[in-house]
């Protein structure tokens, strides 16, 4: 697949002079709307190809055709989202920028899920028990050891099972939050709230254990 920034068709779309007003036709009818939707899809495909191309190194053994198919699917899904949420556009940015973010979201989620498609996600967290040396140097070994023990104890005792699961999977196992959400039947925003609460509880535990400065 050619890099998206060298595709003459999509570059021409990005440089089109009427970008500030054409989106109003998305709420029109008939041929005007069809033309605007086609234009929108071209922009979204440009963004999706850009994202898939940027993240292609995370996808092993994937053909150029599969990459482009991912981008096409992302553009299609983004178009549905954009058209459904047109009323959310408040003009606080260029419409093109607003639309791009939908395509980038769809493409990045698809790439992450594709990259983890055949990988197991461990949902029985134990890796935190092996948290290794985590300080700036050997002079701090005793302090680091005590801090690490406070963190381990916090993960063990201060978190709910769900908080422990999400924290360990996303931070220690490197599972992308979208992938974890898919496996758990949840969504990114809900899991991030779990992660946020887990971190807050862990900071409180570590501070109470004598390391308030480590949480600032």
């Amino acid at each position: 697949m050619a890099p998206p920034d060298t595709n003459p068709d999509v570059s021409a779309i990005a440089a089109a002079p009427a970008l500030t007003e054409w989106h109003l036709d998305l709420q029109a009818e008939g041929a005007r709307r069809d033309e605007a939707v086609a234009h929108l899809h071209g922009l979204l495909l440009r963004a999706a190809r850009f994202e898939v191309f940027r993240r292609r190194n995370s996808l092993l053994q994937i053909s150029a055709a599969e990459l482009d198919d991912l981008a096409q699917q992302a553009a299609d899904d983004a178009a549905v989202s954009v058209l459904r949420r047109l009323d959310d556009f408040r003009g606080e940015s260029n419409f093109r920028t607003w639309a791009y973010k939908f395509a980038l979201l769809e493409a990045s989620v698809k790439v992450r899920r594709r990259a983890w498609r055949d990988r197991e996600v461990t949902l029985e967290p134990e890796h935190w028990e092996s948290l290794a040396h985590a300080g700036p140097g050997p002079d701090d070994d005793a302090e680091n050891a005590a801090l690490l023990e406070a963190v381990r104890e916090g993960i063990r005792s201060a978190l709910t099972p769900r908080q422990r699961q999400v924290l360990v999977a996303t931070v220690l196992e490197g599972v992308p939050i979208d992938v974890l959400a898919e496996r758990l039947g949840s969504n990114r925003n809900a899991l991030y709230k779990v992660l946020h609460d887990a971190r807050r509880r862990l900071r409180e535990h570590v501070a109470a254990a004598g390391f308030p400065e480590a949480t600032r």
């Binding site: 973010k101 979201l105 963190v151 993960i155 807050r200 862990l202 570590v206």
Partner: protein, 77 residues
Amino acid sequence: MTGRDLDPTLMRLLGGDEPELDCDECFAQLDRYVELELRGAPADALVPGLRAHLVGCPACAEEHESLRALLELDSVS
């Protein structure tokens, strides 16, 4: 030892204590934030909590980087 001296893994485990947006709020503001950044405007002051969220959420951070990079590419196309 302050939070800034911590190993990156510990920093990701503990997170920061600044107020931050959630993922949906970040997505809602991302286009405005990136345009402010590219104009050299004080994006962090005008969209409080978004930067703190990007530090804590790798997925949203990737999408921020990509939107910024795509707009920069457009600006030279």
